[in-house]
Symmetry: C2
Subunit: 318 residues, 2 copies
């Protein structure tokens, strides 16, 4: 065939075909290059130029697949849930629902509403799924130390201070921060820290104004320390302080603001006592914030702030 013999139509077809085939080749190449895991030897700097995923892909698929499983709106599937006969974690049903997809209502079932489970915040995190997703590698921060030789995450501390500045509920910038496995652990640690040395012969009395959080009493009694002991309601001390100059240095007072269960914004009652101010609920979704809190010893917890109760994270600022 000589080129001169072709009609313009055939030439056009050929140009179109070539372009189309070239496009085919590009798309096929793109598809396979982005689908194949990037080669990596101990995950060196060579892998992952940009959009493609390798080692995290399967875990991400598993997580999305679990999140998309339906439990009739009466339960949830978790990645680390109990694995069923099909080798996959199954639905964990809300109280009074049962069956593989939680669709069966349990007969004569009573729901126990006496719980502080913060599940009302779950839809918020589902709506912000992309912003709150976290991918952990198997070798994430294996060391005992958290950040550059420090035992506590410097970045987390910075984020918490930034949050308090944005919300305006606490003066955090000049405070020293200590992280704990839930705030209850820190309550005990603070009672210990504020108690006199038992070799001095004295023992601190621990008090709170009724109605108060039961763990103030139970944790103090549990440790049965020589350095402190539970002394009950503040009522007696409040009257005594008003009347005369009783020495209160060895009193440790738990103050909850707002209080649980009566929602009062409380102040210390015993003059001269060491106050541990529990601000677990001092956030705008639980109370109004008349001014940023600025006590010497303050306690916060994510079980109330964000609703992540099972992650057991609290912090104290002193």
């Amino acid at each position: 065939m000589e080129p001169a013999s072709r009609t313009p139509g055939v030439l056009g077809l050929q140009v179109l075909l070539c372009s189309s085939l070239l496009l085919n080749a590009l798309l096929v190449a793109h598809h396979f290059l982005s689908a194949l895991p990037a080669p990596s030897e101990l995950l060196g700097a060579t892998s992952n130029g940009g959009g493609s995923l390798s080692w995290s892909l399967q875990a991400a698929r598993d997580a999305e697949s679990v999140a998309a499983t339906g439990c009739s709106g009466h339960g949830r599937v978790f990645l680390d849930g109990i694995v069923g006969e099909d080798g996959r974690p199954g639905c964990e049903c809300n109280t009074c629902f049962q069956g593989p997809d939680c669709s069966v209502r349990t007969a004569n079932c009573t729901v126990d509403a006496d719980s502080g489970d913060p599940m009302f915040l779950e839809p918020y995190w589902m709506r912000h799924a992309e912003a709150s997703a976290v991918v952990f590698s198997g070798w994430h921060r294996m060391s005992y130390r958290a950040t550059d030789g420090v035992f506590q995450s410097v970045e987390l501390e910075r984020s918490i201070k930034q949050l308090h500045r944005a919300v305006g509920n606490a003066v955090a910038d000049d405070k020293h921060m200590v992280f704990g496995t839930g705030s209850v652990q820190l309550l005990s640690a603070l009672v210990y820290a504020l108690s006199p040395d038992s070799n001095s012969g004295s023992s601190a009395g621990v008090v709170a104004t009724a109605p108060y959080y039961a763990a103030y009493k139970s944790s103090t009694v549990l440790f049965d320390s020589r350095e402190n002991h539970w002394e009950g309601n503040t009522a007696a001390w409040a009257n005594a302080s008003a009347g005369n100059a009783t020495r209160n240095e060895d009193i440790i007072e738990f103050v909850t603001s707002p209080n649980n269960p009566d929602a009062q914004l409380r102040k210390p009652v015993v003059g001269g006592a060491s106050a541990i101010v529990d601000h677990a609920y001092y956030w705008p979704h639980f109370t109004h914030i008349p001014e940023p809190a600025d006590e010497d010893v303050m306690i916060f917890t994510v079980s109330k702030l964000s609703g992540h109760a099972s992650s057991r994270f609290g912090y104290s600022q002193t």
Copy 2:
């Protein structure tokens, strides 16, 4: 144009072109359908038929990008590391290295080798990157309860028992398991649990055979409880037990097997005492396993088993 006037060559071109265009359309459609986040309203059952990712994609990309960052082999980047001027977490350098990519050796620097950091296991987890990756959603197990109303993960307990069966280092199946924030927390909890009630007028003596792990003494002394006290080395009791029938019910003995630092496979020394057997290092990568451990009270920790020291997870089996 009538079809009859076409040459076979032009017809072939047209068929090829049509096929090619169709393939293009399919590939383009596939590309965009898999790249776009699947629509989801509170992540219902509609999203994610299979291969495509939506809410976890960005987090997975961030994690892989961080993992692929080079720190000259003398440091690491972590997702939650300190954010630099470019808005991204930077290299955290090993001791004696510095600079943005940890390539500069610090002059006259001495490495402190006196640390139990289990970083020698890091390359193992990097080699098993895909199998050990975990993707957390923002609403993962927010409740105080872990599995179906239980406060502890049933699936994790099952996996731990399976592991002990496979390794053959402990008889775990008939044991009751308690999880703790690191094993040190459980050491204290066990001393508490094995002590007599202080109202009975007695106080348990806590002992260990030297050389022993310093936390046995320091944690007992720290709590300064009315129910127990540190009594030092077992040497005195060992002699006494051999000679006469001294009552040892109120002695709590820490036994580490293999011991740290002398690697001895130890047995309890004080007859009649309550033994807390610390099997932190009773794994085949630290010692040989003559037989499965089967004591009444055993302690294990992932900081030694898998090297995940900062995840603070220990468990006791009783």
